[in-house]
């Protein structure tokens, strides 16, 4: 009898958190799922049930393959540059190649871009990429490579890559910092033992440091992948999907449907798609990396 009473207390403690998660995460997800079956706008007085028509319109939209392609480009390039190159930078920063002070300066330099607001970065790159007044074309001209000058954000084949490049500049340092922290948590004993066993820096990195920082690497991969499919501000603050639809991405498409095209249902359907993609990607990554095991 007495035992049962004490068992109630932990659940009471859980309730507030549970309600919060329910109210702020799960219920909106479900409500969103419901909206995706209706035709409605942000100000309309009535909802019209359309079944799966929003999904049909989404998947048959001419922009759909372009958006998927752009999001996947962003995802793959970010994984290579941010996670791959970022981790490599972190290994260099944690290696014994450089002095402490130099490392600290580098860490800060790499990290600073990720502190700047996305919109500010977007505006800044708008100027850099400007075909007539921009820094990039001026630079190319001054180093005698005027034939490489482009209209950058105005070119349908280049626009999305210009945006992706901007993000790499901004966030590689962020991943580097996260990885540096993880590497610092690797017990020094292991590293020293490996040195005694005759392991060189490459072997130490591959066999000791990286496996022990696996969890952090996984976290970085997941945030990068999720970030790639939620991509919005970078595009909104530069090309807004243009020229044509060439740099359109899922997140911006969702937003434009919700607030420009009065098509909340379509926006909700896009939201559901993004949700499915990110959840699947996260589960997949957790599975293949066998999280929790060393």
């Amino acid at each position: 009898m007495k035992k049962k009473k004490t068992n109630l207390t932990p659940y009471l403690y859980i309730i507030p958190g549970l309600l919060m998660v329910l109210g702020l995460v799960y219920i909106p997800v479900i409500v969103n799922l419901v909206y995706s079956l209706f035709h409605l706008s942000s100000y309309s007085s009535s909802m019209r049930f359309v079944g799966l028509d929003n999904y049909r319109r989404l998947f048959t939209n001419d922009t759909f393959p372009i958006m998927m392609r752009n999001n996947i480009y962003y995802c793959v390039i970010s994984l290579i540059v941010q996670v791959g190159f970022g981790t490599f930078l972190a290994l260099l920063l944690e290696s014994k190649l450089a002095g402490e002070r130099f490392k600290t300066i580098c860490r800060n330099i790499y990290f600073i871009p990720s502190l700047v607001s996305l919109t500010a970065v977007g505006l800044m790159f708008n100027f850099i990429y400007n075909p007539q007044l921009g820094m990039l074309n001026a630079l190319l001209k001054n180093i005698g490579m005027a034939n490489l000058q482009q209209t950058w954000l105005g070119d349908k084949n280049l626009a999305i890559f210009c945006i992706i490049a901007m993000s790499q500049w901004q966030f590689t340092g962020y991943i580097t910092l996260l990885m540096v922290v993880a590497f610092q948590n690797v017990p020094n004993d292991y590293v020293e033992a490996a040195i005694i066993d005759g392991a060189g820096p490459v072997r130490r990195a591959l066999s000791i440091i990286l496996p022990l920082a696996k969890e952090q690497l996984l976290v970085c991969t997941i945030i990068t992948v999720i970030g790639a499919f939620k991509l919005f501000t970078e595009v909104y603050s530069t090309t807004v999907g243009g020229p044509g639809n060439s740099s359109q991405v899922l997140g911006l498409f969702l937003y434009q449907n919700a607030f420009l095209h009065d098509d909340m249902g379509m926006a909700a359907a896009t939201g559901v798609l993004i949700f499915i993609i990110t959840v699947t990607a996260s589960i997949f990554q957790l599975k293949i990396s066998r999280s929790g095991e060393v």
Partner: protein, 449 residues
């Protein structure tokens, strides 16, 4: 005892959390679909007047930049001083965010009493939901007020059924601006027909100057070209039918022709049209890098700021001879204020707009900001020749034709803008572009019901 206290506390805390969350949940959901429910019963909930005798009127506009913002603030302060029982809560946002924000608030209980609204489809979507107040009875009741407003402009704020839903704050039209010195140096005359226009462009290009400044990164500047070309290439009735989302088809061959005329202009534009904003392109014109700019009258203020010494003039969109459309139309539309159908103070709002958009304030606005409202006689006492000529463009217009991007249903507009952007880059043919627009228009017929 101690345990009991703990338990009571935790229950209390949990209850508090739950309650506060319920509060959040309530306001969250009302932001979207439930907004409709409140729209129906909105009058009841708003009927209770604010505390005391002070009536608070919420006003939302899209002119956060000076000198206009300062002018609005000054005028509202004057009005408040003269009417101690009225207090204004003014908020503003830039053009693009404004278009998004107003759609979210307009259906909710937070809807401003008076707000900026473009004429045409932008406002008519709100009218379909019963969110805008019908101003017709107030205008009928006060013939003096009605007659003081420019008819061509009020037409734009009137639905096909005759409901007036807004009063213009600034009048606007699109004209070609040209560098007079450059034209004189080359011995060029202002072109009146399309063929002459092309000859002028050739002559400018031959002199080594890039003729037209154009920046289409935000996609609407291109739409203004196409809007003007469609006016000339497509008969009025056909356009009226197509611009209505319920009957839009866009199958008239004139639309393809309009695209072809636009394609003719693209080689004369500066490099990287799609990679530059309109404002940046305008700098090319005001700096003398380009000779011609297709711009709005309200930009005169900007042109003067950017290069006060520049000698520029304006000419009307050249006439395409033999085209089937209407060459007399002037592209442009007034921009003005509407009143929410849910306002608790309709009479006070009307009183304010009569004054704020009236001749007296309008004359000051013309002098201080360089923008005109629709009251007759706001140009009296105007000395600046560029503003005088700008006013003439609008005063002489027999019929306005509202901005193309405001005339179209949202999804059709988006597709049209996308195709214009692709045509500018040479990535699509006019025929293919129109085929895509036709497809979206067919879908829109279904959505707009």
């Amino acid at each position: 005892m101690k345990k009991n206290l703990k338990k009571t506390l935790s229950i209390g805390l949990a209850a508090m959390m739950a309650l506060s969350l319920a509060g959040c949940g309530g306001s969250d959901t009302s932001a979207t679909p439930a907004a409709g429910d409140t729209a129906a019963g909105g009058e009841a909930s708003q009927a209770a007047p604010a505390s005391g005798d002070v009536k608070t009127i919420k006003l939302f506009h899209r002119f956060p930049d000076d000198p206009c913002n300062a002018f609005i603030e000054k005028k509202i302060a004057e009005y408040e001083a003269a009417h101690p029982d009225i207090k204004f809560e003014v908020t503003s946002a830039q053009n693009q965010p404004y278009k998004e924000k107003i759609k979210v608030v307009v259906g909710s209980d937070e809807c401003p009493d008076i707000f900026f609204s473009f004429c045409g489809e932008f406002s008519e979507r709100f009218i379909r939901e019963g969110l805008l107040m019908d101003l017709t009875p107030y205008l009928e009741a006060d013939p003096e007020w009605k007659e003081s407003l420019m008819e061509t402009q009020m037409d734009e704020y009137t639905t096909a059924d005759g409901m007036v839903y807004g009063i213009p704050f600034r009048l606007d039209a699109k004209e070609f601006f040209y560098n007079v010195d450059m034209f004189n140096d080359l011995g060029l005359e202002v072109p009146e027909t399309w063929d002459d226009f092309i000859k002028v462009l050739d002559a400018i290009q031959a002199s080594g100057v890039v003729p037209i400044a154009e920046g289409n990164q935000d996609k609407w500047p291109g739409a203004h070209y196409l809007g003007a070309l469609n006016e000339q290439c497509v008969p009025d009735e056909v356009r009226a039918k197509d611009y209505d989302p319920k009957t839009g088809e866009f199958t008239d061959p004139g639309y393809v022709e309009a695209f072809k005329y636009y394609q003719q202009l693209v080689p004369y534009m500066n490099m990287g049209v799609n990679g530059m904003t309109h404002d940046m392109a305008r700098l090319g014109f005001t700096n003398g890098q380009n000779a011609i700019l297709f711009a709005e009258l309200v930009e005169i203020t900007n042109i003067k700021q950017e290069n006060p010494d520049m000698n520029w003039g304006m000419f009307k969109f050249p006439v395409i001879e033999g085209a089937k459309g209407n060459p007399d139309l002037v592209s442009g539309a007034p921009e003005g204020f509407a009143i929410s159908s849910k306002t608790a103070y309709p009479d006070e709002c009307i009183e304010f707009l009569k004054w704020f958009l009236g001749p007296e304030t309008g004359a000051q606005q013309a002098a201080e900001v360089g923008w005109f409202n629709a009251s007759l006689g706001v140009d009296e006492g105007l000395t600046d020749p560029s503003l005088v000529s700008a006013y003439e463009v609008i005063a002489n217009a027999k019929k306005m034709d509202i901005w193309f991007d405001n005339a179209l249903y949202s999804t059709v507009c988006d597709e049209y803008l996308t195709q214009i952007s692709d045509i500018t880059n040479g990535d699509v043919t006019p025929e293919d572009a129109m085929a895509k627009i036709q497809k979206v228009a067919a879908e829109a017929q279904n959505l707009a019901q």
